[in-house]
Assembly symmetry: C2
Homo-oligomer: 269 residues x 2
């Protein structure tokens, strides 16, 4: 029954702790318009950023199990916290390819840096040292600086992507990066691309690595490698599932995707 | 077996979605030093403020069931979101007295106001209109203004209880209250007492109603009414239970209680 043509036309699964992963969905869509995508946002248990490794692992396994029921051919972990704390664990458990935002972001950063990389993310992502370890494993000479920025997500979710409070907060968090003269910054959280412009204005002349773009391109490589890219010519469709509350989700989706989306389905993982 | 003396010496249960409810625990302790208190912070599922009513009800029931296993004699719902969305539901299900922060805050505000009350809280608390309805039910003549302030909790949790970003954020949220010349403001979130000083500086000459103080005094009245105040002379003890992550909890506890607490127990609700 299950021949390769069938598998090829199965959807790509994307999960995030909430809404931020929509920046990843948007990039996959742009790069592989023929693919069907199922997005799961764990809005009932968001955020993952302040939870322990054990809890994030448990939630991540449940999210993958849900996507498997939807017969996905691969899983993209759009959540940085989950990529940092649970990706290896997931790959030890499940057979289908599962990729995360961290390695993709690191590879891009290493390709463009001249030696000083700054990493920003949630407390859990930064404290996990997943980005730092991944960089050090590949190039011991790189100078790495990191900073958790817990106010960036609520600022974005308040729609404050510019203005004085946002500028001051960016300055508070990134002043040390400026002093250290980093040349490349990794946006280690899917919300942060919405602050890209203000971060660029403040830091000036740095390479900004947007993990959402990089993981989408990595997903394409992986599907190509396994000959699993959809054969369909027509535009793929999207399905949105969340674990709680449709109202805010559709508002945020508009902010992140710059278009209206169909009513998401509420599911219990 | 279960005579009144036994019940009297059982603990008071306090639950919150996370750490903010520690401001309530501190007030109960101050007012009734002989009582044993069990605090449950649902840190694995925090925050409740952006979740639906159905989800908040489900979580709240699970929290009460956990406290009942600990044989509490009453439950104080320290979480504003849960008080707003789930209190009536809980009182329809459970036999022991369960009180929340909303009614206590409203009664105090009505006692001191000269007619214009402002309410601040999370999105869910404000959108539930629980404070607004409670005030209107008791006095139709009061002019009510409300504003959700989603950045206040992350600011407090970043330790930013003063400074420029905090001042600007307070101004952004409370400018309309200043223009409307409110005379009383209800801090409808357990984190907000830590911003009390800056809010007072900005609004000037308003009555600030701190729900944590008011609910503690309400708890004392209820226990007195049922003759359930502890007969013990010695200082009561506290037990702290959370659903995830001890590290941040003890740090925050220090910020909220201004003392060190014993290592919290991690429980699965």
């Amino acid at each position: 029954m299950n021949n390769f043509n069938n598998i090829r036309n199965q959807p790509i699964g994307v999960f995030d702790s909430g809404i931020g992963g929509l920046t990843v969905l948007a990039e996959i869509e742009r790069l592989m318009p023929g693919e069907n995508i199922i997005y799961f946002g764990d809005t009932a248990r968001v955020p993952y950023g302040n939870k322990t490794s054990a809890t994030v692992k448990k939630f991540s396994v449940e999210n993958v199990l849900f996507l498997l029921e939807e017969r996905v051919k691969m899983v993209v972990v759009a959540c940085n916290t989950s990529s940092a704390l649970a990706l290896d664990y997931l790959n030890n458990i499940f057979r289908i390819p599962i990729i995360g935002v961290i390695e993709s972001g690191v590879n891009k950063a290493l390709a463009v840096t001249s030696g000083k990389i700054g990493i920003i993310g949630t407390k859990a992502t930064i404290e996990s040292r997943a980005y730092q370890r991944n960089i050090a494993k590949k190039n011991k000479k790189i100078k790495i600086f990191s900073k958790s920025c817990p106010l960036f997500v609520p600022l974005v979710e308040e729609g404050l992507v510019n203005g004085e409070i946002t500028k001051k907060t960016i300055q508070m968090y990134l002043e040390s990066f400026k002093k250290k003269k980093i040349d490349t910054i990794i946006l280690g959280c899917t919300h942060y691309p919405l602050l890209k412009e203000e971060i660029a204005k403040y830091l000036q002349k740095v390479n900004i690595v947007d993990s959402a773009q990089e993981v989408a391109s990595h997903a394409k490589d992986v599907l190509g490698h396994f000959k699993l890219i959809s054969g369909k010519k027509a535009k793929g469709n999207n399905k949105f599932c969340i674990s709680d509350e449709p109202k805010n989700f559709t508002n945020f989706a508009k902010l992140f995707l710059k278009r209206n989306i169909p009513e998401p389905k509420i599911v219990n993982v």
